[in-house]
Amino acid sequence: MEENIDTDQIIPARFLKSTSRDGFGKNLFRDWRYFNNNEAQPKTDFILNKPEYKGSILVAGKNFGCGSSREHAAWSLLDYGFNVVVSSFFADIFKNNALNNGVLPVQVSDEFLQKIFALENGSTLSVDLENQTISIDSTGEQQKFEINNYKKTCLMNGYDDIDYLLSIKQDIINFEKTLA
């Protein structure tokens, strides 16, 4: 329920030394999960260490992902197993990085977010990308979320932004001639 969770918490700087995109899941929220960076010393109060909470949807307080442009934040969420992050407000760069990496940011109203936080253990949420809805399964309560149509098409079809840009290379070359 924490607000303003910044990228230094999601993935601390000392873990940015990797030269690949893999294996970031174990360092997700590292300093909130463990004492002394030691997996044998979990902070049992922290929600990811509580066995009754699991799933592929992360729900967080407003302004999730503020701070650095490190895309590693999105990779660590994905690698850990989250496909969706729900909040009432997302920092810009983080939102883009998530969308570019198969992590869907779902922005809901503050009211709806508080309803989710008030749910009992074991409750589930459903997210329907095609219809752009998020539902609380136990009550059927639903809210629509925004997503850029282009990104939605890419996510649903497994296209990549770079595939798209490569397909318009000639347009780019023509454009360069106008700058000269």
Binding site: K17, T19, I93, L166, D171, I172
Partner: protein, 467 residues
């Protein structure tokens, strides 16, 4: 209706607008460094693609490098591998690298401008959120993620939704002892760490016009800390004077042509901004942050807010958590509080003018024996200029050691970390939990305020030392 400066540059670089989707924007200059590029390079290679425009790409090693013994192999293995990867990648793809050992090496947002690479009217990106620094020259400059780095490698373009535009006017004259770092910390304290999310900011007004280029860079640098996509300042005579004759600046006829072009770079009189904020320069005093986001700042003589003074429930919780982490009490004053560390450096404040400010405070005085001080010039060239001006003697006479260029303790990726529980007054840009090392406690401030603390060993109002 007139256009904003932002719109003029955006439109000039628009390759295509995707219906109900982002715009395709052409990128004039792509800066890269060792942390956010490796996966982009391997991504390109996996696709069997080449770097589309290697000549528009400039590389340096800054985040992970040590700030002592740069002539020796890097001790920390992962850092060494990452820096080596950049060397290998640049060689393979023929990208200009100003790496360790090169006379132009330094923090990416320091070297671009000092080499004359950063110019008005450009679109500039880099895998680093403080890319907004380059906006000080009247360019659209912003930070991008590694996937976007790969996009630029593949196509020299980026997909971007056009942000809204905000103008922040700062009018009047700055008080004594107040510098541009205080201006931006003041602004963020007023509008919050998310106050400009979704906007690109233009800074204007007489107080902004009066600033030097380096001072303007400090302001644009921290635009991201209020959630803005980027920040810019329209070019003027000050800008031209700075760029002229720098190594990669256009020369002779090409210079004259460019100047004519750049003179058209301003927001029209009747341009409409989505939001406008007015700030009175006379209201600004030396600032210091007390919390765990850059918006939690106060003037140097003020008290940390009380919980009761905050109406928003979420913000109250934030304050309580921040104060607990920082070991501070609501309502307390910071002045006179001992600090164990002072860091002068980072892309925010590590240029020659920042170091001159520091020298003006410490000259004839001695470093306090209870403070560990790191002074990290922003680039090899800044370090050379330090010596040429004799400032290095002022620093060493006062008992300070000067390090070698790099991002250093701003984010503690290398060995320059602040120990857990210790306070550090820092001229950098972020005070998040653990930013400078796990458990470290950062107080953001200007080079003047940091220098004062290095002498007294406690949080100090620098104006008392400047008499």
């Amino acid at each position: 209706m007139g256009k904003t400066l932002f719109e003029k540059i955006w439109e000039k670089h628009l390759v295509k607008s995707i219906p109900d989707g982002p715009d395709v924007i052409y990128i004039d200059k792509h800066f890269i460094h060792e942390v956010t590029s490796p996966q982009a390079f391997s991504g390109i290679e996996k696709r069997g693609q080449e770097i589309f425009r290697p000549l528009k790409t400039v590389a340096t090693a800054d985040h992970n490098v040590p700030t002592i013994n740069q002539h020796l192999p890097i001790v920390e293995e992962l850092s060494r591998l990452q820096v080596q990867k950049l060397v290998d990648n640049c060689k393979k793809h023929q990208i200009e690298l100003y790496g360790l050992g090169h006379p132009f090496q330094g923090i990416v947002h320091v070297i671009g401008p000092e080499l004359g690479i950063t110019q008005p009217g450009m679109t500039i990106v880099c895998g680093d959120s403080h890319t907004s620094t380059h906006g000080a020259f009247g360019s659209i400059a912003f930070g991008i993620g590694t996937s976007e780095v790969e996009m630029v490698f593949a196509s020299q373009c980026i997909l971007q939704n056009k942000p809204k535009v905000m103008r922040i006017n700062v009018e009047g004259e700055l008080n004594k002892g107040v510098v541009s770092k205080d201006i931006i910390l003041y602004i963020i304290s007023k509008i919050s760490a998310s106050g400009a999310t979704g906007y690109f900011v233009e800074y204007a007004g007489s107080a902004i016009r009066a600033l030097s280029m380096e001072a303007r860079m400090t302001i644009c640098n921290m635009s991201i800390e209020m959630g803005a996509r980027g920040g810019m300042i329209a070019p003027d005579e000050t800008t031209l004077q700075y760029i002229k004759n720098r190594l990669f600046a256009p020369k002779d006829d090409a210079w004259d042509e460019k100047v004519e072009e750049w003179k058209k770079l301003y927001s029209d009189e009747d341009a409409v901004f989505d939001k406008e904020i007015n700030i009175n320069a006379a209201d600004i005093e030396p600032m210091i942050t007390y919390g765990t986001n850059p918006g939690l700042g106060i003037t140097i003589n003020a008290n940390v807010p009380t919980v009761e003074s905050i109406s928003d429930e979420g913000e109250r919780k934030n304050l309580i958590k921040a104060l607990e982490y920082m070991g501070l009490t609501a309502g307390q004053s910071l002045k006179g509080m001992p600090v164990q560390n002072v860091f002068i450096g980072s892309c925010t404040n590590s240029r020659i003018e920042d170091l001159r400010l520091v020298a003006s405070v410490i000259k004839g005085r001695k470093k306090n024996e209870n403070v560990n001080v790191l002074i990290v010039p922003g680039s090899q060239q800044v370090a050379a200029q330090l010596s040429a001006e004799g400032l290095d003697v002022i620093f060493t006479d006062a008992g300070f050691k000067i390090r070698q260029a790099g991002c250093s303790a701003c984010l503690g990726m290398n060995e320059d970390k602040v120990p857990a529980g210790e306070y550090c007054i820092s001229t950098s840009n972020r005070n998040f939990e653990g930013r400078q090392g796990a458990g470290s406690r950062t107080l953001l401030a200007s080079p003047l305020t940091a220098a004062a603390a290095a002498i007294t060993g406690v949080v100090t109002d620098v104006r008392e030392l400047l008499n």
